[in-house]
């Protein structure tokens, strides 16, 4: 059970209590507090909408609507489940839906469209979503407090004798550069569709910025909320920009609530998502993307945890599976695996000593987090790290259930030319160590041409069952799901299969 679930329960109890003592409370108010249903929107890695929907069904029992606006799913939950929503591993960001317009009729003239947005602000059902926002805000305060304590403690623990630095500034820098990457034009999008992101510029509307500390924020309830509006617009037929929409809608929101506009130090982030004729107004529930959660030590091409989680789900891990990432880099995938699929055993390998060390450091950081959380002295996670060469794995033949990895794209790591030799060699070696018939591999790559060619020569050992097109740091990539055929591995030089490569145990 998440710690934040306890927080919700406490807060709900408080709210109910408040209602009971208030004179104006009606019975329906009392009932509605605990049964309040809300629609939550979540942004997920493009291409993984279905896996995210599966996780939601599995963990929250809700079915999802997958939006036409790719990378977003919607589901309905009761407010009591809000804490569990934060435990979802496949979502990057969460928001509560204020209102959804399936077929919004945009007027043809810009001034009229913008006037409609202004009028809209006062007509929306803000009340319940704001309640949800408030409950959610209390989670974040508790989490932020705990995070600070964790980071200080883990700094002490890890800095013993090792050249390990949890450099918070680097963490933020890496994060923002990747956040920007995801706004770069998505190759997969129709080039005719323009996509814009704009936030309400609060300069002319904001008054003095208070430099309040997080701790003082907790003590004194802010009298006036600070907000900003973020508008995402995609579509060919709009006669306005996201900037304009954000500005005018934001202006009306400010008039309606008397909030202060603030670009950086906001309490409430209002979202205006426009995709062709679909308009969705929401309030953000997450501040920073959840996708960096497990990694404290970044490498040059660290994979988003949400993407790693999605890939692992595609593997369909069964309990007791042996799961190997033979090119683990900073260990994003095996670490996500070790925390979420604790009844499997994960092996993280890489040829680069820096990478293996980073992976080991990330594992150590995780251990520290769970040590503090559960008060356990030193517990192990089901994961080991090895330094090895993917083309010559020091693993027994037919011993691994699942191989899941992020193949070098040839852009930021490695080279395209190198891939022509590397990919076939990888596929061959992976087919050797993978258990025939039941084994499977889930492989991410941007060099899809090279991969397709390499795979075509390996049909006797690998059968492709699925391809998921994704967007990784602005690059179009694919996740291939392969099943190992029943064909046993035969060493190319063998005639009768006599040389001593071990068979898998029956």
């Amino acid at each position: 059970m998440c710690d934040i679930e306890e927080a919700t329960n406490q807060l709900l109890a408080v709210n109910l209590h408040e209602n009971q003592s208030s004179v104006q409370v009606t019975e329906s108010d009392l009932r509605s507090e605990s049964e309040l249903l809300v629609t939550i929107g979540a942004t997920v890695p493009t291409g993984f909408e279905q896996t995210a929907a599966d996780e939601v069904r599995e963990k929250l029992g809700s079915s999802c609507k997958i939006s036409r606006d790719r990378g977003k799913i919607y589901f309905v939950i009761s407010v009591e489940s809000l804490a569990q929503v934060h435990c979802l591993r496949s979502v990057d960001n969460l928001f509560v839906v204020v209102q959804e317009f399936q077929d919004y009729q945009f007027k043809q003239i810009k001034e009229e469209v913008l006037k409609d947005f202004e009028d809209l602000a006062g007509k929306l059902p803000w009340s319940n979503p704001l309640k949800v926002w408030k409950i959610n805000a209390s989670f974040k305060k508790k989490k932020a407090k705990r995070k600070k304590i964790n980071q200080n403690l883990s700094k002490e623990k890890i800095n013993n004798g090792q050249e390990v630095k949890i450099n918070q500034r680097n963490v933020k820098k890496e994060f923002t550069s990747h956040a920007l990457d995801s706004h770069i034009l998505d190759y997969y999008e129709n080039p005719a569709i323009k996509e814009e992101v704009s936030t309400l510029v609060g300069d002319d509307l904001a008054s003095s910025k208070d430099e309040t500390d997080e701790s003082s924020k907790e003590e004194t309830e802010p009298q006036v909320l600070k907000f900003r509006v973020t508008c995402n617009r995609a579509g060919e037929k709009h006669c306005f920009t996201s900037n304009e929409a954000a500005r005018d809608f934001g202006g009306a929101v400010q008039d309606y609530f008397k909030w202060k506009a603030d670009m950086t130090n906001f309490d409430v982030e209002v979202l205006l998502n426009i995709h062709d004729n679909e308009v969705i107004v929401g309030i953000a529930l997450t501040e920073e993307s959840l996708h960096r959660r497990n990694i404290t030590h970044f490498g040059p091409t660290t994979l988003r945890s949400t993407l790693a989680y999605g890939m692992l789900r595609l593997c369909d891990p069964l309990p007791y599976d042996i799961i190997v990432d033979p090119m683990c880099g900073t260990g994003a995938i095996p670490i996500e695996g070790a925390t979420e699929w604790t009844d499997c055993f994960h092996i993280a390998g890489d040829n680069n000593p820096l990478a293996v060390n980073r992976a080991a450091n990330n594992i150590a950081s995780l251990l520290t987090k769970s040590q503090i959380k559960e008060g356990k002295p030193s517990w192990g996670l089901p994961i080991d790290a090895v330094q090895w060469d993917i083309c010559n794995l020091p693993l027994r033949t037919g011993s691994v259930d699942i191989i899941v990895t992020d193949l070098p794209f040839g852009k930021r790591m490695g080279s395209k030319k190198r891939n022509w030799n590397l990919y076939p060699a990888c596929l061959r070696e992976m087919s050797r160590v993978c258990i025939p018939t039941t084994g499977r591999a889930v492989l991410l790559t941007q060099d899809t041409k090279c991969f397709a060619k390499a795979l075509s020569g390996m049909r006797h050992v690998w059968r492709k069952v699925d391809t998921v097109w994704v967007n990784v740091g602005g690059l179009r990539a694919a996740v291939y799901v392969l099943i190992r055929t029943p064909q046993a591995f035969v060493h190319p030089s063998e005639q009768d299969g006599e040389k001593g490569t071990l068979w898998y145990k029956e």
Binding site: Y320, D384, D389, N392, L502
Partner: protein, 123 residues
């Protein structure tokens, strides 16, 4: 590196056949060459993972670290928590931190540093 991982590792030197199991040699100069870490005991996991490991190798390797497992087991033993606990201890809780893995066939030595074995060629 746990004994579970060791159970899957073999020598990958060219032309080396039968480089399994690798012999574990501890680094005597190091102050903490072996660590024992607690780990959640998952009964089903231990039962099922047993069918994936080479039991003889596990038996012999565990002996090296003072764990005497049953020489062989039957399906009845799989319900005995004492037996499963001993397997759990051997597979999961022993961490080799400093030492080397030596191929019984070609005698190449792969170093283990800070719990991570380096299996790259030309060591």
């Amino acid at each position: 590196m746990r004994l579970l991982t060791h159970n899957f590792l073999k020598c990958n030197e060219e032309n080396c056949t039968g480089g399994y199991p690798l012999q574990i040699k501890l680094d005597d100069t190091s102050s903490e060459n072996v660590k024992i870490l607690e780990q959640d005991f998952n009964k089903e996991f231990v039962k099922n993972v047993l069918s994936k490991v080479d039991y003889d190798v596990l038996y012999n390797t565990a002996k090296q670290f003072g764990i005497s497992l049953l020489f062989s087991y039957t399906s009845q033993h799989l319900e005995d928590e004492g037996f499963l606990n001993s397997i759990h201890h051997a597979l999961f809780k022993i961490h080799i931190m400093e030492g080397s893995l030596i191929c019984p066939q070609c005698h190449v030595s792969f170093p283990i540093k800070d719990g991570i074995p380096n299996m790259l060629k030309g060591n």
